[in-house]
């Protein structure tokens, strides 16, 4: 039985051989993500506050770099809370979190490339239309 429990806790779909008891044991193994309800409620509250803040950025009418900085700060904080707590990334082993969280950095490289490209396109358009074709 001990072996059966260890089996099903490591391999979520291994419960088929053991029926109800082993399935019940699975739920209480360390592998699964169980956290106090308080944690979720606090994060939920913060997500509401941060969303309200980012909406206020527009409502108050900040412009320029202040607006963009605030938008990015609230966005990153919200995304971080969702991924870390709601998606349990903070509680996973680093082998998984780095495998999933590092590849999107490539998108940022792509962003940098396209910023140069878009600037260049805008410049050529201004030249073209500015001189009347």
């Amino acid at each position: 039985m001990a072996e059966a429990t260890a089996h099903s806790s490591g391999h979520s779909h291994g419960a088929h051989a053991h029926g109800h008891d082993a399935a019940a044991a699975t739920a209480h193994a360390e592998v699964h993500q169980e956290h106090p309800i308080r944690l979720y409620l606090i994060v939920w509250g913060w997500l509401f506050i941060l969303s309200a803040c980012s909406y206020l950025v527009d409502y108050v009418g900040f412009e320029g770099y202040l607006r963009w900085t605030l938008i990015l700060i609230f966005m990153v904080l919200k995304a971080g809370l969702i991924v870390a707590v709601f998606m349990h990334m903070a509680f996973e082993r680093p082998a998984l979190s780095y495998a999933i969280l590092l590849p999107p950095v490539a998108v940022l490289v792509f962003v940098a490339l396209m910023v140069f490209e878009a600037d260049y396109t805008a410049l050529t358009r201004l030249n073209f239309f500015g001189t009347g074709g």
């Binding site: 399935a23 739920a27 979720y40 509401f48 909406y55 527009d58 709601f86 082993r93």
Partner: protein
């Protein structure tokens, strides 16, 4: 049996954390994700690929907006609603944001209740999540209708750069599709939880595999991702 014995953490003893843990997990000539089931790992990898899709959409939007010489329509005015005589900027979008965040909260609770074996509570919370998701899609349909009636098309609009319509319909449409698929799967998983399929190891209709309550967590991963994408769309498309 031999293979599954290797894949559980209780059987392989304590493992190092941090960078040493990454190196030892990945170089162990076994599976890299020691205590994560294949279902959860594959959902994460799918979400990673979806991240690239939405990343490319937002990148295309950035390039279009940066390179156009025609002024971009002001989203604060385009998406404003008139309450009586007062024009409130981004009102509908703000409500949609709060609806989606609420649904993420109920989903997190549903995952927790599932692992605690509170079947009814877990199913009810998932149904609440699905209802909030459906509300979101409904409001998006209203928003699309309003914009289309005002003359926004993928090839033009009354206020400025023509790319506005194309990027708007593309990005919000793809996101709305994700929400819709999520609602459908939420209903399916909620029904299975309600009936106790995961307690008795009933075979699923789709893969014929026996599920367990981790399916709720995997469903939750997808749902939170939908919320996550909206965070970026809200920031870059509506607020920027």
């Amino acid at each position: 049996m031999a293979e599954t014995t290797l894949t559980n953490t209780t059987g392989i003893g304590p493992r190092p954390d941090g960078w040493r843990g990454i190196a030892s997990d990945w170089s162990s000539d076994q599976r890299a994700f020691k205590n994560v089931s294949w279902g959860k790992a594959m959902m994460w990898i799918f979400l990673l690929s979806d991240t690239f899709i939405f990343g490319c959409f937002l990148l295309a939007y950035m390039s279009a907006r940066m390179s156009t010489v025609v002024p971009w329509p002001n989203p604060s005015e385009v998406f404003s609603l008139h309450i009586g005589d007062v024009s409130v900027p981004l009102l509908l979008i703000a409500i949609m944001t709060f609806v989606l965040i609420s649904s993420s909260g109920t989903m997190a609770m549903a995952v927790m209740q599932g692992y605690r074996r509170n079947r009814k509570m877990s199913a009810i919370l998932m149904l609440a999540t699905a209802a909030l998701g459906a509300t979101f899609v409904g409001m998006q349909a209203f928003e699309w209708t309003k914009l289309i009636s005002e003359g926004v098309r993928p090839w033009g609009n009354p206020w400025g750069a023509e790319q506005f319509g194309a990027t708007f319909f593309m990005i919000t449409g793809f996101h709305g599709t994700h929400v819709t698929i999520g609602v459908i799967f939420l209903l399916i998983v909620a029904r299975k939880v309600w009936r106790g399929d995961y307690d008795v190891g009933e075979r699923g209709f789709f893969t014929s595999r026996r599920g367990n309550y981790e399916s709720v967590e995997i469903m939750g991963l997808y749902w939170h991702f939908v919320d996550l994408v909206w965070v970026f769309i809200f920031a870059f498309f509506y607020l920027w």
